[in-house]
Symmetry: C4
Subunit: 204 residues, 4 copies
């Protein structure tokens, strides 16, 4: 029996990876992507693959707790994905690009990136005016993923209107109702992060 929903989501993640890599946002084998299926299983990238050249066999299945359902090894950061899905029932896709602007920005600010007065903020779900102040928290990087996942989940539970977070020196995470939705967030956020880094380099 074909698992059509899985195949459709996998194809969307592969295509998203090609787009994201074309912009230079998943260098080497960095980044990871996932989509949640209707039955709660999660399609996610296998560990160690180049995200711009994914093939169907590079997408695997895990359960809601991040346990492999097919014997293969998922991304080391699977628990960050499952934490996001737990917190946001409406989320059906999580994208983690390892983008230059978010990585650079995490070295220039402390604690959070503040985005305001940009029309493009309206590309984020639920925002309908540029006169908005979006806080993107920056968490210190940690190789202990369960510990990092817990810390992030505690933050997400205590805050509303979070659309993304940055891990210092490590890119950012964003999510959406669909892969297309999450990809729109990636494109808008990286654009805004890039402008913010350039603001640090300019004289006013």
């Amino acid at each position: 029996m074909h698992d059509t929903e899985f195949e459709t989501r996998a194809a969307e993640l592969i295509e998203a990876g090609r787009f994201i890599d074309g912009r230079g946002w998943v260098p080497a084998t960095s980044g990871n992507f996932s989509a949640r299926l209707g039955d709660g299983r999660i399609a996610i990238t296998v560990s160690g693959r180049h995200k711009g050249r994914l093939r169907p066999e590079d997408i695997m299945l895990v359960d809601a707790a991040g346990r492999s359902l097919d014997g293969r090894k998922p991304s080391a950061e699977t628990l960050l994905h499952t934490g996001i899905y737990r917190r946001y029932p409406e989320a059906h896709a999580v994208l983690h690009p390892h983008s230059p602007a978010s990585t650079l920005l995490s070295r220039l600010v402390t604690g959070a990136v503040i985005l305001e007065d940009y029309e493009l903020l309206k590309a984020l779900a639920g925002i309908d005016t540029h006169a908005t102040r979006i806080v993107v928290p920056v968490f210190p990087n940690d190789q202990d993923i369960p510990r990092l996942a817990l810390k992030i989940e505690e933050y997400l539970v205590r805050h509303d209107r979070v659309h993304a977070y940055i891990i210092a020196g490590h890119g950012f995470y964003t999510w959406g109702k669909s892969v297309a939705d999450a990809l729109r967030h990636v494109e808008a956020l990286e654009y805004l992060f890039d402008l913010e880094t350039r603001m640090h380099g300019v004289k006013r």
Copy 2:
């Protein structure tokens, strides 16, 4: 009966969108484009579509006052397009890229961007020497589009030789006798805006 003129203009807008997106100037679903037909109707992008991946069904028709002629919802900023067509009878295309350089520049200057001594100014209609001083006004962003449209139209009526305007944090608008003409303006202006932002970042 086929509406050949509409189809030709729609194809030109789709191709312009592909070019503009390839350069990174319409991230997410930002930007909007239009072309005025011989009978005064305006072909314009439907609200909320990705401008780099437009299909024929993503271009619709509105009248000179911006009212939908086919029941679909045009871009939220349709009134800015109709205002430009009203002011410039010779204009037959309006392009609004949401480009990084114009958005960044709107945060660095107050009131207007001044472009002078660039050979590429000759790419703008009616300019035949680099020894020209072009004023590109910067308007504050406003979610009340009728109010913003009125403010811009008042400016355009009182000033000659305006080739483009920037909306702060929101990209720029330019126009031309044809889609090709407007696209040449987009390419030249974004190039010059980019140099200007870089001038702010350099030591002299």
Copy 3:
């Protein structure tokens, strides 16, 4: 009778234009390119065409004095091309990209750009060590092309080892024994100009 040499050179210029435009170095309808044939006639781009989308009919013929041989109008800057061919008998191609880095650099330096200690200088004809000091003169822009051509020619006659020159706010000119040779110079010089502009923006 087919003019095979002309067709071959025209095809090379078209391909060079596609490469140069892909990098963003001939925005709008800027830039112009030429190649000298064995009999002294010069194949050159017709005025006003987009250099990234040239077709065979966009390349025309002029004589060594820059006079049209086929009734069409050559680039406004044809006399700069013929001046280079007059000064350098071995030159058989001239490329003029309107690149951002050379245009920006012309606003940051006075009189000349000095390139030294770059391995890539060896990409220039006759240079075999990075321990070289290359002077790229910057001339003020001038819409009076015969006057500008004369001024440049006087400089070229009085100086040896000139590989390129910049016109302020207007891009640069370089040349070579073949289109491939001139294109290698374009690629190397734009790379070095870009690094130089970035040196102006960094703290040491």
Copy 4:
């Protein structure tokens, strides 16, 4: 008899060159690439070819001492490749991009580039945490390649955990167990070098 291993490695180097050139990291005819075969012979790029447009005949064979095995002239920097293979028995590919970021960085730092606290360091062989301090030595450029090779080899012998080195004004060298491995290093290092150059241009 077909030399299948040579052909496979040559095809990988050609493809790597296309990728590297697409990012702008081997302008003009700069850069050079090699792969070591099972029998110790080394497939290496012929001198003077454009690395983004390599054909099978642009890859030749040298022995472990860098002597041509087929009468053609290998890259002028062949001795740097053979020195790396001598020092690292597990290395089977060496890539030398002439990238803008590494070239610019070599003008901003003295002696070495220090990379630390970047998640992407984990893309380097043997690194499993961002909490790592990687030293990338910068050697002065030298047209006397045997002398430069000797100096570098002395450094490599005396230091452990070297993943790459920069030659000032001349790009960088990195290596790996396979062409794919070395290419992953190229992608990760150029990303990090680029962030480092941008750190020099920003205010904190």
